[in-house]
């Protein structure tokens, strides 16, 4: 063991990690300890975003880092492995174990395990104010005595304990757990703490050692229960708060459904209103800029191929995202943060679980699918609520190909009105594609996933935390989405200017034979890749029979994701998935056209 390394380490820059079970309020603790100086960083090689902050105490600087919640180091799976790696890393000097004081017994299981690592550590009994108001007293000093490490009563809400903890941080290297705990160190992770960095996961696969880890969890569980019982004193009967009454109502199988559905509906409504308001407002504000840009480019570049490409591509790639995509992402980030921080998200997952099982995904999937009817760009972002990558791929594919966004719906309805399109056939086509595609995707990616997860208590979200979360999701728009969009819209303009599209229009006889639509309508189908809602505009300029219009609009409605969705998909799940989606989308679109041409008379 490298205890001495820690003990005599020079007291300068060092990393302290916050470790705790999910939903104990680690992020809130971080914000309250380090003020607003938190930054977000991706943990190497993953899409997991971690909050980091800096503490400056008496000329010393400490890096303080949030980690994904985990229940046990030894049983760590997927995201939890990140926490394990950070905790075990050499340059992690000390651990701040955040404990939900209201769930002491369960939280202490992890505390006991962390103590076995032999790293300097302190325990924060977070949300102590809530526990006290429930008529429960926790003897922090007694707990400290039993654990052999400092324990602080803490509340990120009221600020209780913040000063004490900040004062203790410079001395943290001395907070080594008692010998009795250290002796066990190294046995939790096979091969010893220092021998294993926990990257390979091989050690977890050996059955004997797995059993050992499970047995240890059981033993720690017993110990934790005893400890919790000894330090807890119930002084008064718990009087149910307003929130817990509300929680009972929302968790009721009958009433809860009504409340949750009406909330979802109003949230959806607000989103749509906000997007259309923002599009008008921002579009109006940026209109002069649009003109300046295209005129500036016209002035700079002589007329010709590149002039056409750049004078259209740059303003489109810059202004459409700013006016349409940016407000949508902002609002959805805010709503997602609200759903998470209030504890409502998990309730939706319960409510919609039976629905999600049809598609082989968890209940939360309904949230991005619903959002997709507003704008599919933030819906792709919202798939982050799903528990696994496979589920995200399923939902993003369905979103890209089948779900029409508000703008698409508007355009589709105008085409329906102008050409007397058979709306029932369009609807049937969409529903059957959704079901069949969903079924196929379920066969490929679907997980039989037995569901179990924690239902966090309903909470009033803290504004500071909400803002941090929104910032975290929103900033990516400027750094990743916007540049990519500009590049890709220039690319699309190059394709358009190259005359490739007019060649398709020339294939009139082929498209009529295969799909029963004129060649120009086929161009519209391919244009969906720029913005799906632009494509129907081209249809409106053609003369089409109702039958032709029905086929063309069905092919447009069930085809490719629009450019912003393409960019988001690359960002969220990678370009390989995107290629799959694009080829599936093209196949679906052509197949639908072909089938409808056969069926419709």
């Amino acid at each position: 063991m490298g205890d001495n390394d820690y003990q005599y380490q020079k007291e300068n820059d060092g990393r302290i990690v916050l470790v705790g079970q999910p939903n104990v309020g680690k992020s809130a603790v971080l914000t309250s300890l380090s003020g607003i100086q938190t930054v977000v960083s991706n943990y190497a090689g993953t899409s997991v975003e971690l909050l980091r902050g800096e503490l400056k105490i008496a000329e010393q600087r400490w890096e303080i880092m949030d980690t994904p919640g985990l229940y046990s180091l030894g049983l760590a799976q997927s995201e939890e492995l990140i926490t394990r790696n950070i905790v075990l890393a050499e340059d992690t000097l000390a651990i701040i174990n955040v404990v939900d004081a209201g769930n002491l017994a369960r939280n202490l299981v992890l505390t006991l395990e962390l103590l076995e690592l032999g790293k300097p550590m302190m325990v924060l009994l977070n949300q102590i104010d809530r526990v006290r108001s429930n008529g429960v007293k926790i003897d922090a000093s007694k707990l400290a005595y039993f654990l052999g490490c400092p324990v602080y009563a803490f509340s990120a809400n009221t600020g209780e304990g913040v000063r004490e903890v900040l004062e203790a941080v410079p001395r943290m290297h001395t907070f080594l757990p008692l010998v009795s705990n250290k002796e066990v160190a190294g046995t939790t992770i096979p091969g010893g703490v220092n021998a294993c960095v926990g990257n390979c996961r091989q050690c977890l696969l050996t059955m004997e050692k797995v059993n050992e880890a499970e047995e240890k969890v059981r033993i720690r569980n017993e110990k934790a229960r005893c400890l919790a019982e000894q330090v807890t004193l119930r002084t008064a009967e718990k009087k149910p708060s307003f929130l817990s009454k509300l929680e009972q109502l929302i968790d009721h199988p009958g009433w809860g459904v009504l409340i949750l559905i009406s909330l979802l509906f109003s949230g959806f409504k607000i989103l749509l209103e906000f997007i259309s308001w923002a599009e008008d407002t921002i579009g109006f504000l940026f209109n002069p800029l649009h003109k300046v840009l295209s005129q500036g480019i016209s002035w700079l570049i002589p007329p010709g191929f590149w002039h056409d490409v750049l004078s259209n591509g740059i303003p489109e790639g810059l202004l459409v995202p700013l006016a349409l995509v940016m407000p949508a992402i902002f609002m959805v980030s805010l709503m997602m943060a609200l759903l998470e921080d209030t504890g409502l998200l998990a309730r939706y997952a319960v409510l919609l679980e039976r629905l999600g099982r049809l598609l082989g995904v968890s209940g939360q999937a309904a949230i991005p699918l619903c959002l997709g009817f507003g704008c599919r760009v933030p819906a792709v972002v919202a798939t982050r609520v799903l528990p696994s990558r496979a589920q995200r791929v399923i939902i993003i594919t369905l979103l890209s190909i089948v779900i029409p966004c508000a703008a698409t719906l508007g355009m589709i309805t105008s085409v329906i009105a102008v050409f007397q399109v058979n709306a029932i056939i369009l609807l049937l086509a969409m529903i059957s594609v959704f079901l069949i595609l969903g079924f196929i995707l379920k066969l490929i990616y679907g997980e039989k996933g037995d569901l179990i997860y924690e239902l966090p208590p309903l909470r009033v979200p803290r504004v500071k935390n909400l803002l941090t979360k929104v910032k975290l999701r929103f900033m990516g728009f400027f750094t990743e989405v916007l540049p990519l969009l500009i590049i890709m819209s220039i690319g699309v303009r190059i394709i358009l200017a190259s005359g490739w599209m007019t060649q398709i229009a020339g294939l009139d006889s082929v498209t009529r034979d295969l799909f029963g639509i004129p060649g120009e309508a086929m161009v519209a189908v391919f244009l969906t890749v720029i913005q799906r809602y632009l494509a129907p505009l081209i249809l409106l300029n053609l003369t089409l029979s109702p039958r032709e219009a029905t086929i063309a609009i069905s092919m447009i409605a069930l085809s490719l994701p629009c450019l912003p969705v393409v960019v988001m998909t690359i960002r969220e799940v990678g370009s390989r998935v995107l290629l799959g989606i694009i080829s599936t989308g093209l196949a679906v679109s052509l197949l639908i056209g072909f089938m409808l041409n056969l069926i419709l008379t």
Binding site: V210, D251, P253, A349, R354, D450
Partner: protein
């Protein structure tokens, strides 16, 4: 600590968790499932010997809501079928 039921063979009163009515308290006796499920349950506190309250059961095969100390858990029916308990 009571752990008399841990790993004990099937005996009177042991039923699977999906058969319990809402509002009842039970003690976990064992988990009939693969390694993955067993670990997942352990990590969430569904550990043989612990007491759990069944808060509500969602209709049409929906999830079972459990209360463990002050934590609520949502558990799919399929998983509840694998958890052996005794009513208290």
């Amino acid at each position: 600590m009571e752990n008399a039921h841990v790993n004990s063979p099937k005996k009177n009163g042991q039923i699977s968790l999906d058969n319990i009515n809402s509002g009842k308290k039970v003690r976990i006796c064992g988990i009939n499932g693969g390694k993955g499920i067993y670990r997942r349950l352990l990590s969430l506190g569904i550990i043989p010997g612990n007491e759990v309250e069944v808060v509500s059961i969602h209709p049409w095969g929906g999830p079972v809501i459990l209360k463990l100390d002050d934590t609520q858990l949502a558990m799919g029916r399929g998983m509840a079928r694998k958890v052996q308990v005794v009513e208290l």
